[in-house]
């Protein structure tokens, strides 16, 4: 059903402003040295000239802090101490300009939040996902830390999880409409016109060059077949964890890390129960009230992060929980490189 259109760069701000009138528009914005996806109301705020965002886009489906329930502790209130659901994401949202790696992370998060079980859903995640349309921006110039082509169905122009994908052709974008949701979104937008064959050919060339320019791929073939407990007990973890300082930035910027805490906050009798990102890098994460901690040392926490992504997740969902965006490599203050860790695991 793919339909290909073009839009000139001069018209993109106009298109985004139009979209922002119709839906909640989440798009890349430059804030000093940081590139973030934020809610915008005008196309002029948006920049589509970037390598990849500093933070992943997961917060648009799984906010860093999200209200789950409200309650009152007012003793006079009839419903005191009773939790009431918070309705999230009433409006449609469009995430515009997301890289294919981040779009893929949504599919991985979906596995976690739906537990791969028909009929089960995490209502907070699924309500947001249902109302979300994803417009991707292919990656013309992958970074040296990118390794997205390591995995099936992945790459700088992969379309998995996207409703529309844009290819930067210099003065214009090729706009490939991939789903009905995408078609509906771009209906009656007169800045868009039918793509000519020269533009389509140019897009193909750009894609081919981009795909071959990702050259730091990892291999996970042996990890897949290794025994989980043996890999867990392997002495490699003693060495690999040495430099880690347990700061947790890798889990924070990771598009697939999804661990969370649930906390209550009460201000003058009005209470909220919320979920907040948490991290397996922190000792408190697993500390039990008795004082016992099953992951008491850095080694255990370090091992958990990599084993979870490349082995436990594989065992449970038959895929891995990494999209090769390389953010953890770029953000790590002690230069731990996930590609090297996985390389050791795969030996």
């Amino acid at each position: 059903m793919m339909k290909e259109l073009i839009i000139y760069k001069n018209d993109i701000a106009k298109l985004l402003t139009k979209l922002a009138e119709e839906v909640t528009l989440i798009a890349p914005v430059k804030r000093k040295n940081t590139l973030l996806f934020e809610h915008v109301t005008s196309g002029n705020e948006v920049t589509l000239d970037f390598s990849n965002s500093t933070l992943s886009v997961k917060s648009s489906l799984f906010p860093q802090c999200e209200k789950m329930m409200t309650f009152t502790t007012d003793p006079e209130a009839e419903d005191a101490h009773i939790m009431k659901d918070v309705e999230t994401q009433k409006h449609k949202q469009v995430i515009f300009g997301i890289r294919p790696c981040d779009a893929k992370s949504f599919l991985i998060l979906d596995k976690v939040f739906s537990q791969g079980e028909p009929g089960f859903e995490d209502p907070y995640f699924s309500r947001r996902k249902e109302k979300t349309i994803v417009v991707g921006l292919g990656c013309n110039r992958p970074l040296s830390t990118c390794f997205c082509t390591s995995f099936d169905e992945s790459g700088p122009f992969a379309t998995e999880g996207l409703d529309v994908i844009l290819t930067d052709l210099g003065d214009k974008y090729l706009v490939a409409v991939l789903t009905d949701k995408g078609k509906e979104l771009l209906k009656d937008k007169d800045m868009l016109s039918e793509a000519d064959s020269a533009s389509i050919d140019k897009a193909h060339q750009i894609r081919d060059i981009a795909i071959t320019s990702v050259n730091s791929n990892i291999k996970i073939d042996r990890i897949k077949v290794k025994d989980t407990s043996e890999l867990f007990e392997d002495p490699l973890w003693d060495k690999l964890c040495e430099t880690c300082i347990g700061c947790g930035i890798c889990t924070y910027i990771c598009p697939t890390c999804h661990c969370f805490d649930i906390q209550d906050e009460v201000i003058e009798n009005e209470g909220v129960r919320m979920r907040i990102w948490d991290s397996c890098m922190f000792p408190l994460y697993t500390l039990q009230a008795s004082g016992h901690n099953p992951r008491a040392t850095k080694k255990e926490r370090f091992r958990q992060r990599f084993m979870h992504k490349f082995k436990y997740f594989q065992d449970k969902f038959n895929t891995i929980s990494c999209v090769g965006c390389g953010r953890c490599i770029r953000s790590c203050p002690v230069n731990i490189d996930i590609r090297q860790v996985v390389g050791e695991m795969n030996k």
Binding site: H81, Q115, T228, C259, D261, R273, Q288, P294
Partner: protein
């Protein structure tokens, strides 16, 4: 589908102090809404998140049996933020229960078998659920011989003392109580669980054993049970972990690919042996 994070509102109907030091209390909770009571259908071995608005949630094993209708029992050790607050709550206070959660004892496999229950300390809660369940009029004939070995540091630290007496008087269940040291007024056995289990030597013929207790007790009881002929498949245990969501998502309770909140808390020794040793 309904939101699995929203607790069902309950009221504290009764608080029973189990021990002299006040560290263990049993809370009898009744649902505020009939729909919730009807919907909450648990099996022995499962747990629930007890929710206190403004304080948070804690995962606690369900001590009542599904055959006890109209209420739930939770025996709670005063330990952290939520449990300490709960210990100071009063009859009539409103709180929440979310569940039932987790995989229960494998009743389908255990039916028709002789059942041995080995418990230590305050880990006896879900074992109480199991015993009451098996002893109920409609279920007793579905299980063979029932042997219970239960121990605590001192006599006062044994939970459910009145019920233990009732069970001792019955002839369709064998109850062996033990304490770690001699104590005034104690006429029962003295000795640690692994030793007493060895002495009593419950038969492993056509039997399942459930062991719940502190890690050190489990560690030394396991070899005794294996020596008695129980296979790793027939030794059933229950694990504890820090948990938040209780439905396999929030991440912290995993042992390898298994989430204790969802794939457990009940595991057989044979299952545990296949998992990384991280608990």
């Amino acid at each position: 589908m309904s939101n699995p994070y929203i607790p069902r509102p309950v009221k504290i109907q009764e608080i029973i102090s189990e021990t002299w030091d006040g560290s263990l209390k049993t809370f009898k909770l009744v649902f505020l809404k009939q729909d919730d009571e009807d919907a909450f259908r648990h099996v022995p071995g499962q747990f629930a998140e007890l929710s206190i608005a403004g304080k948070g949630e804690i995962p606690i094993g369900i001590a009542s049996s599904p055959t006890e209708k109209g209420y739930l029992l939770f025996t709670v050790n005063k330990m952290g933020v939520v449990t300490t607050y709960l210990h100071n709550m009063s009859i009539g206070d409103v709180m929440g229960v979310r569940g039932p959660l987790g995989r229960p004892f494998p009743l389908d496999k255990m039916e028709g078998k002789n059942i041995v229950i080995v418990g230590g300390g305050f880990a006896f809660t879900t074992l109480r659920s199991m015993i009451v369940y098996m002893l109920s009029v409609s279920n007793r004939s579905r299980f063979g011989n029932i042997t219970v070995i239960y121990g605590a540091r001192i006599p006062d630290m044994l939970l459910y003392k009145e019920e233990l007496k009732d069970w001792e008087r019955r002839d369709d269940i064998k109850i062996v109580l033990t304490v770690d040291r001699e104590a005034e007024g104690w006429h029962g056995r003295v000795g640690l669980i692994p030793h007493v289990t060895k002495e009593i030597a419950p038969s492993s013929d056509d039997a399942y054993v459930i062991v719940c207790g502190p890690p050190i007790m489990i560690k030394f009881t396991q070899p005794v049970l294996l020596e008695l002929g129980f296979t790793p498949e027939t030794i059933i245990m229950s694990l504890e972990k820090r948990m938040k969501c209780g439905i396999g998502i929030c991440g912290r309770c995993n042992i390898g690919p298994n989430y204790v909140c969802k794939d457990g808390p009940v595991f057989s020794l044979s299952e545990l042996r296949k998992m990384p040793h991280e608990y």
